[in-house]
């Protein structure tokens, strides 16, 4: 794991003033690696900008002067009652009721990011708890927990999510509950595997031999070693949750209008894609940009936390360079074929 980085903390020999070399924690090293990853940094900036836009949505709405749920029946609809195209009044055009699409897309970002973060947080806490208990205790506890994890993973979840959505009544809270319920299983599976290998280490045996309780061992000795893989999984679970929310809202069992969500905007836009391209394109662009940014950031976090992959990539890059230098014509032929 990444916690095995060597630390050197001692005095240098030789002449001159005595210099103390500071040990760097694995987290500092990971942060340095992440900062050098241009794609990850760009993704992070995109996400931060989006979060800023979402938080400032009411301020921007007040500044533009268009509240999210106010229909502008005169300026916002054409003479035939269709949405109007983007202009200096309506930056992204209007929707079928003559509301400002730009403002509604920003309010939709609030819903997406909120659902993405909150349900990933709940799912991660649940997944870590279940996976760690299954891996640590083994026996029948493991059988029950691991089987139910597999069941949740294999179930046609959109169908069940639809049913749950109707039972709880469609709302933001319902969406968060449903998504959390389906996001813990993938994390639990990985955490269980990691715990199985960690619990065989000598230091766990040592902790047990001095009488530490299972709870103490799990929280103090195992959990810190799980943070790196869980962080990667959680980053990649956020876009999944955002897409899940959009899908539920698109099918009409998620966030309900007039509250704007990218999913229910697209659901309404479906009837107007022949006449009003902006209605479909702007929510789509925001949704894709967000999920792409989180996916790329997740890949970056994985590379940064796992020094092995970085060395691997460096070696590959070096080999790739040598290859293209050595046999240029052959490489191009291969690339074109």
């Amino acid at each position: 794991m990444s916690l095995t980085e060597l630390e050197f903390q001692g005095e240098t020999t030789g002449s001159g003033p005595v210099q103390v070399i500071q040990g760097r924690s694995p987290w500092v090293l990971a942060w340095r690696r992440l900062r050098q990853d241009k794609v990850a940094v760009a993704s992070l900036i995109v996400i931060l900008l989006l979060a800023l836009l979402a938080i400032l949505a009411p301020v921007i709405a007040a500044w533009v002067g268009h509240p999210p749920n106010t229909p502008y029946t005169n300026q916002g609809l054409s003479s035939t009652g269709l949405p109007v195209a983007p202009s200096s009044t309506f930056f992204f055009g209007t929707d079928d009721l003559g509301r400002d699409l730009f403002i509604r897309v920003l309010y939709g970002a609030q819903v997406s990011l909120l659902v993405g973060f909150v349900s990933t947080l709940i799912g991660t806490v649940l997944g870590v708890a279940v996976g760690m208990m299954a891996g640590y205790f083994g026996g029948w506890i493991d059988t029950v927990l691991a089987r139910s994890t597999d069941a949740v993973l294999a179930f046609p979840y959109v169908v069940l999510a639809l049913a749950l959505a109707v039972v709880f009544g469609p709302s933001l809270l319902e969406v968060i509950v449903v998504i959390s319920f389906f996001s813990w299983a993938a994390i639990a599976r990985v955490v269980r595997g990691q715990t199985l290998s960690i619990k065989e280490k000598e230091y766990i045996e040592a902790a047990r031999s001095i009488g530490a309780s299972p709870m103490r061992i799990m929280v103090l000795d195992i959990l810190p070693n799980l943070i790196a893989p869980v962080l990667v999984l959680a980053t990649l679970a956020i876009p999944t949750a955002i897409v899940f929310e959009a899908t539920l809202s698109f099918l009409g069992v998620g966030v309900q209008p007039p509250t704007a969500s990218w999913g229910n905007l697209l659901s309404q836009a479906q009837a107007f894609y022949q006449t009003s391209w902006w209605y479909l394109i702007f929510p789509t662009a925001f949704l894709l940009l967000t999920t792409l940014a989180f996916n790329l950031l997740g890949d970056g976090v994985r590379d940064a936390l796992d020094p092995r992959t970085e060395r691997l990539f460096a070696a590959q890059r070096k080999r790739g360079r040598a290859r293209s230098k050595g046999a240029k014509p052959a490489a191009t032929v291969e690339g074109a074929s």
Binding site: F155, Y157, V158, L162, A163, V167, F250, L266, T291, L292
Partner: protein
Amino acid sequence: MGFASFLIRRILLGIVVLWFVTVATFLLFFVAPQDPARLLAGKNTTAAQIANINRRLGLNQPLIVQYWHYLDRLLHGDLGTSYLTGTSVNTILKQDLPPTLSLLVGGVILWLIVGISVGILSATRARTLLDRISTTGVLIGITFPTFVLGLLLLFAIYKPLNQAGFHWIQTGYEGPTQSVSGWVGHMILPWITIAAVSAATYTRLTRGSLLDVLGEDYIRTARSKGLSERRVVYRHGVRAALTPVVSQLGVDIGTLAGGAVVTETVFGLGGIGQASVTAITTGDAPVVLGVVLMAALFVVVANLIVDICYSILDPRVKLA
């Protein structure tokens, strides 16, 4: 452990799973705050009318009795009748099966062919231009939610083609019995939609798995004894590389059912997925139970097939 006893064990387990699904779905709809009688009768109804409907549907009986009646009918092959339309659920499922089946079978074939072949190409030409293009394509594919891809295909392909007077690609559903070309024209966009996200995942999986396998000692041995590169990759490499791909397929079958719901809704195919959305949002419990049971049956059978394929690909895996 012989093959027959494996099959019997798995079928018994499958029946237990299906029974569990009926109980869970039944309970879910019992705790639902919707009142089917009120739903059926409309807004202005007297208490007597509602009591009447409740008696007719057997909803005034205790839950366990209702469940028992349901199970009894089920074992006789009767899935009940829809609360809303009064049609038999068997008929509804039979009517809606062809579009869903067309979608799933075509979609899976497309996704496996594209996913695995691009994965193999990408692994055998690792770090070339082709590999980089496919890796980028995979990332884009994974980013697209199914319904967004469907909407964009309608916007970017269906709309311009039809405006240009080219009417082969259509929405809605048309069976292959009338004309195969018409069927493909109706299904091609739905197939691409349902296959794209999964094909991307499988490309990534196949590429990684094949790259791992190609680094193994026995591949070096195969090369050193003078086998052609083609034979090494396809006979020795791909076979071993496909095992994790097949096991992933078992997990993804549940996802596929969800993809069908979304794809059918976007393209108006009118299959089982679309029927389930309508039934769930209107609280039509018998239809929901029928659809969920059928989806569960599909998942159980498909997983069984996947496990059998798995043991054929990798003789070390024992059927258990």
